[in-house]
């Protein structure tokens, strides 16, 4: 009796001869239109513009600012925050947040130092052990987030405290002095070396940061794993249903973040010379890296943004801090103005995006 079904769909014969062309409309081709479109599809462009503007303003306000040495100082000051920012970016792209980045970095640097000096292990091996242990701390975060399904904020709030106090307990608050390290284990200070083209010092650490940003940008953009990171951040249920191994991916992301933090810990030794468990990165590294990430245009809700944006975000903060101090602002006012400028930077970003939407 399916004859009535025929009748019911008979109107579909109107379809014969339906157009098969892919729809096309003429595009606006004005210069402004193109700029807007470019801004829209290049999420890292906006922080870059803010950055350039900031550099120009400070260069104009302070005569010393525009010297190569100042700019290289800024770069070396953001090296650690930048590497932590790489770790943070990965986690934030999955719609997570990692409050423990700074703690992992500090603890890893302490581990590298203490394993060398307390237990007499050769420096390269201690470095490997430190990197491995940092990865393990990240892995712990990952397992708690992915398998126990706890919110990342609370997991890393907990591990932040755990790792930081483990750090103090393990190190017995002992600092290892720079001169000892450079005698016994110079490998620990590797990233503190510099090349000096034309008298301007550029730390190895700066090159490391740039290399890490480039590699991660490639991975996120051009590999399946990178697309999965975005997918999980976008909508974890959808990603799971459409075939991403969400749990495994999340675990990998947090472990990789741990590794990056441990690398930052190694860089800290090179940069500060000494190994100190009470480095402020342990307390402030998370906020600083999150600031870089957000100013760089990565959405805290996950799935949107680029790591290159984070790099510019870190630079913006570095330039503001240095610039304000150079024009002679007192520390309390510097703190105040950086607050203002964080908000302004993001407001400008938002405004340009809206205009171009």
């Amino acid at each position: 009796m399916s004859s009535d079904s025929k009748a019911a769909t008979s109107y579909e014969e109107g379809l014969t001869g339906a157009s098969e062309k892919v729809a096309e409309f003429q595009e606006k081709k004005t210069a402004l239109g193109r700029l807007q479109h470019w801004l829209h599809v290049t999420p890292s462009a906006v922080p870059m513009i803010v950055l350039v503007a900031a550099i120009i303003i400070f260069g104009w306000a302070s005569p010393n600012f525009f010297k190569a040495v100042t700019l290289s100082t800024i770069l070396q000051q953001i090296a650690i925050v930048g590497i932590l920012g790489c770790a943070q970016s990965l986690v934030v792209l999955t719609a997570g947040i990692d409050l423990s980045v700074g703690a992992i970095a500090v603890f890893s640097s302490v581990l590298m130092g203490q394993i060398t000096f307390r237990y007499g292990v050769p420096a390269p091996i201690s470095i490997l052990l430190g990197l491995g242990l940092g990865t393990l701390m990240g892995l712990l975060n990952g397992v708690l987030v992915a398998y126990v399904k706890l919110p990342p904020f609370i997991v890393t709030l907990g591990t932040w405290q755990i790792i930081l106090s483990a750090n103090y307990i393990f190190s017995a608050n002992e600092t290892i002095r720079s001169s000892e390290i450079s005698e016994v284990a110079p490998a620990l200070q590797f990233w503190g070396h510099a090349i000096q083209p034309g008298g301007v010092k550029v730390l190895y650490a700066v090159f490391l940061l740039i290399a890490l940003v480039a590699i991660l940008a490639y991975v996120l953009r051009h590999t399946a794993w990178g697309r999965h990171v975005y997918a999980v951040g976008d909508d974890p249920d959808a990603a799971e249903l459409s075939g991403v191994q969400t749990k495994r991916l999340l675990t990998q992301v947090y472990a990789l973040a741990g590794l990056l933090c441990a690398i930052a810990g190694w860089v800290m030794i090179g940069r500060f010379g000494s190994v100190s468990p009470s480095a402020s990165t342990g307390q402030l590294g998370n906020i600083q890296s999150i600031t870089a990430v957000v100013i760089g245009g990565i959405s805290l809700f996950g799935g949107r943004g680029s790591i290159v944006g984070m790099f510019f975000g870190a630079l913006i903060v570095g330039v503001f801090e240095m610039g304000l101090k150079m024009v002679g602002t007192d520390p309390q006012w510097t703190f105040f103005l950086i607050g203002v400028l964080i908000i302004l930077a993001v407001a400008v970003d938002q405004w340009i995006r809206k205009a171009s939407a």
Binding site: M1, S5, A224, D234, A239, S242, Q245
Partner: protein, 260 residues
């Protein structure tokens, strides 16, 4: 029928707090057939296919695939067994492009060193494939294959999901209301696509509220009511009015009417 069902379920229960979505539900899918599942809104059709595809775990009951007892703890496991599913909620990552979404979890890599060592994606190939599949479905209004899925119209989105399932399903293809948001032309293409898939020997489960379409393509119709299978009928034995009467409780099928 003498054949063994390819996918079989017995005595499934699924409760959500006070709500009983599946209530001692049975299910059979024969090899190579198009099985339609019809029923009122909230009858439990989506819950049934979610249980079959691993998206939810039933509280009780058992599922067998090709005679083997299976227990999927995630859709990925079901996919590993060749069960491809278009969910009612579509399961797409809104911020990613159409091609990214179609190949999610089975991306193509560039040939040669770039692909092997640097694991670089082969975007041109994926985009070409995606464009072809969409054109097969007649989705000609998609202007830009790199558009984020969130910028597609409701129907376009559904089209992308159906194209994905049809392109990759190998053992069972499940479609939960694939034409709900589609236009006349696009719905027609989906029906043709369903026939194509069956022609490849792959059985299909089709959930739909569109009676004419159901009666046109289905080999058998599973009528779902209040969380369980009320009866299974053959479209040539009953009229659409009868089917509608069964699923809304206006008529009660005789026991004998159930097609085994």
């Amino acid at each position: 029928m003498s054949q063994e069902p390819l996918l079989k379920a017995r005595g499934l229960y699924k409760r959500y707090g006070k709500v009983t979505a599946l209530n001692n539900c049975d299910f059979d899918l024969m090899p190579g057939e198009i099985l339609a599942v019809i029923g009122d809104n909230g009858a439990g059709k989506s819950s049934l296919i979610k249980a079959l595809s691993g998206a939810v775990q039933p509280d009780e009951g058992e599922i067998t695939l090709e005679g083997r007892r299976v227990q999927f703890s995630s859709p990925l496991e079901a996919r590993g067994e060749g069960i491809e599913c278009v969910y009612q909620t579509l399961a797409m990552s809104p911020a990613l492009s159409i091609a990214d979404n179609m190949f999610m979890g089975r991306e193509l890599r560039k040939p040669g060193i770039m692909g092997k060592w640097f694991r670089q994606l082969d975007r041109p190939a994926m985009e070409k494939f995606a464009r072809e599949k969409l054109s097969e479905l007649g989705l000609m209004t998609i202007q830009n294959i790199n558009q984020a899925v969130e910028t597609l119209s409701g129907g376009q989105r559904q089209g992308v999901a159906v194209a994905r399932a049809a392109a990759f399903g190998s053992k069972v293809v499940i479609l939960d209301e694939p034409t709900a948001a589609l236009g006349v032309k696009e719905s027609r293409r989906v029906l043709e696509l369903i026939r194509d898939v069956r022609a490849r020997g792959i059985p299909i489960i089709l959930i739909s509220h569109n009676m004419p379409h159901v009666f046109e393509v289905a080999d058998r119709i599973h009528i779902h009511r209040l969380g369980s299978r009320l009866c299974v009928i053959r479209p040539q034995d009953y009229s659409m009015s009868d089917a509608v009467a069964f699923m809304t409780g206006a008529k009660v099928p005789e026991a004998a009417e159930v097609a085994a």
